[in-house]
């Protein structure tokens, strides 16, 4: 304790933060930038969620109710782009900014000015993208996958789409470089790689994935741009180009992107389950190797997204089997989380509830992924609502619940105050029940043959669409509780100690709550690191 107080006192000398708007616009502090990332992600979550609720409103009944098909397609396209690049990815970067320096014993990120730059690109990128709703021809409507030749028919918003994707990519790459460089160079002496918390490990691997695949997306959309404006025919069949090649390149980015969205959630769940089981994580090293294996495999499975374009049997077999192989390291992780809880002294605070929901519901998404990996079955499921149900199970109770679990876990550390646990538990149950009401019926709709990306459908699909829409409305509205709980916590939460959760381990819990402006200006001692790395 004396050591903590001495450390806190040492930090007070460095607490010279700028005030007013300068603190945010010129921010170089990892916590300030992390906060801005999280606020931005939350804003985008509600804009993208608003688009989703409009989609569910249109699908509440068969026939065209509110929107013309072009606008409906714009809504689905923009919902995906905003949620993936505007909500989930910035939320992970925000959490990385807040937690990585604190967890590795560093005073800040390695490249603070680059950190500022990579954040401030994002508001411009998304202002550009969202303002495309107001240009002639409307917002992009060709799907987030931007397949040519369809996307090349986009109106005036096409260059806005391409430029904003470039900006998002640049932001992600710069953010990822910062994370890798911080973890590799800024760890406190004694913080060896195999002492690092799982959240840091998963982010390190995620950052490598980002550096490898975001430039591939940027290259693909650059070629779309030149096809559209400069007369090249990379993907235009009439000029000798190959539209299917775009799909290969896109999914070479797209499949690792799925893991970019989910791997940090693995890390957070690996922090939360031991805390609320009051036991060390079962199989720490196997968790690290499992995450690395999943990341490696993500590079060799991309064509399972495009089995129906026609490819040689050997290729179909390769991509089917390599996809199924991902179940092995994923199974290792699910086993380890379950084994961590085995005979543990469990308690069910909101972070643990979200982590458990992640465990159950992400596994459902994984199972439907295995079904989609089988080539003959995929021929039936392709482009149906079954696919929509699958990836939403992976991304909503997977990535989004992972983010919420992380925020509820670390919010007392960030603010120095405990949030309203009852209200957060209500938020959890509303989310967990209605996310299933929203997405589970979509499995039935898909198996019955309802195609995706349509504003109208045959009447036999009505009942499950009504259920799904009601689930969507309640799920969407219940998310308003999330910012309310956070704001209430900041304003009127009860103060907490350094270790807000009884069973928490890790360097961040050795710092005061809230932590000083600069985290570890004096590196933590080996004893403190060893105490934190109790896995």
């Amino acid at each position: 304790m004396a050591e903590h107080q001495a450390h806190a006192a040492a930090h007070d000398d460095h607490d010279h933060k700028p005030h007013g708007w300068r603190r945010w616009v010129y921010a170089t502090n990892h916590k300030d930038i992390g906060t801005m990332y999280l606020i931005f992600a939350c804003t985008m979550f509600f804009i993208g969620g608003g688009a989703a609720m409009l989609i569910r409103l249109e699908l509440l009944q068969p026939g065209l109710q509110y929107f013309d098909p072009q606008f409906f397609n714009s809504l689905t396209t923009m919902h995906a782009l905003i949620m993936i690049f505007g909500a989930i990815m910035p939320a992970w970067t925000g959490l990385a900014n807040w937690m990585v320096p604190m967890q590795v014993g560093a005073p800040d990120m390695a490249l603070p000015r680059l950190n500022n730059f990579s954040f401030w690109i994002l508001p411009f990128a998304f202002t550009l993208l969202i303002s495309s709703f107001f240009v002639p021809g409307g917002a992009p409507a060709g799907g987030w996958t931007m397949y040519p030749p369809l996307v090349l028919q986009t109106g005036a918003s096409f260059p806005m789409l391409i430029f904003s994707v470039h900006l998002m990519g640049a932001s992600s790459i710069l953010g990822a470089i910062n994370v890798v460089v911080t973890i590799m160079n800024m760890r406190a002496p004694g913080m060896t790689l195999l002492r690092m918390p799982l959240f840091v490990w998963t982010w390190l691997i995620t950052a490598y994935l980002l550096i490898a695949v975001m430039p591939v997306l940027a290259g693909a959309v650059t070629m779309l741009l030149t096809d559209h404006f400069f007369g090249t025919t990379f993907f235009t069949a009439a000029g000798g180009g190959d539209p299917v090649m775009f799909q290969h390149i896109f999914w070479f980015f797209g499949h690792p992107e799925v893991y970019i969205l989910i791997l940090p959630a693995f890390g957070i769940v690996s922090e939360i389950i031991p805390t609320f089981s009051r036991k060390p994580l079962f199989g720490y090293e196997t968790m690290v190797y499992a995450v690395a294996s999943i990341a490696f495999l993500s590079f060799i499975v991309w064509a399972h997204h495009m089995f129906t374009v026609g490819m040689p049997l050997a290729a179909q077999l390769f991509f089917m089997l390599s996809t199924m192989l991902i179940a092995v390291p994923t199974g290792v992780k699910v086993f380890n989380w379950t084994a961590t809880m085995w005979k543990g002294s469990l308690s069910f605070e909101p972070p643990m509830l979200f982590a458990l929901a992640f465990l159950f519901l992400f596994t459902i998404g994984g199972f439907s992924g295995l079904m989609l990996a089988m080539v003959p079955a995929d021929y039936q499921y392709q482009d149906t609502y079954f696919v929509v149900a699958h990836f939403h199970y992976v991304l909503v109770p997977g990535a989004i619940f992972g983010i919420m679990a992380g925020v509820y876990y670390w919010l007392p550390k960030w603010t120095g105050k405990m949030y309203d646990l009852k209200l957060a538990t209500v938020h959890f149950w509303l989310s967990a029940i209605f996310v299933n009401v929203l997405f589970f019926p979509q499995h039935f709709l898909g198996l019955a043959g309802m195609p995706r990306r349509i504003p109208d459908y045959a009447v036999q699909f009505t009942d499950w669409n009504v259920v799904s829409s009601i689930g969507g409305f309640v799920f969407g509205l219940s998310q308003l509780m999330f910012p309310y709980i956070i704001i209430k916590c900041i304003r009127a939460g009860k103060p907490v100690g350094n270790r807000a959760w009884e069973g928490a381990h890790g360097l961040e819990w050795e710092l005061p709550s809230p932590p000083p402006y600069h985290s570890w200006t004096t590196p933590p001692s080996d004893a403190v690191i060893a105490r934190g790395a109790a896995h």
């Binding site: 550096i211 430039p215 693909a220």
Partner: protein, 58 residues
């Protein structure tokens, strides 16, 4: 730490100076690794475009 020519290095004997040396070295490592990863990203970006150009030239 020994300076060239068997002359004892005076500055690094103090903890502050040693920390400064370490900090300088760390800054260099940070810069080098950031440039390396940026170069890798650039190789992926231009590499895929180059591959498409080579494919078209066949």
């Amino acid at each position: 730490m020994q300076a060239p020519g068997n002359t004892p290095a005076l500055a690094p004997r103090t903890a502050v100076a040693a920390a400064a040396v370490d900090e300088g070295e760390r800054r260099r490592r940070v810069r080098r690794s950031a440039i390396l990863f940026a170069a890798i990203a650039a190789v992926f970006y231009f590499g895929f475009i180059a591959m498409m150009l080579l494919r078209a030239a066949k």
